[in-house]
């Protein structure tokens, strides 16, 4: 079982890495944010899998920290991206 779970963690990491191509290529901010979010979720999944496989409860705490702070960082991304837009297009649909 341990082997399978570790292999699964590797597989998730690998797929997520493919997604990192989107961070590199863009084209828009939204695409980069999406890839980063996928990386966060994939990281959480990989941490859970390898943590359970090796019987390390601490990695669950780590995954939860990651989940909470990834949500927080994504908000930062979105705000930053929205600000960039506001600069170029003055308040188009802001109340």
């Amino acid at each position: 079982m341990t082997e399978f779970l570790l292999a699964a963690a590797g597989a998730v990491m690998f797929t997520v890495v493919l997604g990192m191509v989107r961070i590199l290529r863009g084209p828009g901010d939204a695409d980069r944010v999406m890839a980063a979010q996928l990386l966060g979720t994939g990281g959480v999944a990989a941490l859970l899998l390898s943590g359970i496989a090796r019987g390390r409860p601490a990695s669950l705490d780590l995954a939860l920290t990651l989940a909470v702070l990834a949500a927080f960082a994504s908000i930062g991304f979105v705000k930053g991206a929205a600000m960039g837009q506001d600069k170029s297009a003055e308040g188009d649909d802001d109340p």
Partner: protein, 97 residues
Amino acid sequence: MSALVDLFTVAAVSAGILFFLAGVVGLLRFPDALTRLHALTKADNVGLGLIVAGLLPQASSLLEALKLVLVWLTVLLAGATVGQLIARVARRAGTRT
């Protein structure tokens, strides 16, 4: 009994990985930001959900199982919210160009 449980874990985790893979393929191959977002949210919610479901029987204590579910709920909550916000950024970028 334990073999059956292990079988469930293998099946659920594999299905979860498949969803991650599908999400990534969508993220890379779909033509525009909104369709890519559609693919991404599936990987986020269902993929992680299946992996968590598969890991639940392997948890060594109730607290661990609880944390697993809590992780999933947090990601679900964040994914739903951030998905909305990303879509708004993408749409505004789309309407401008």
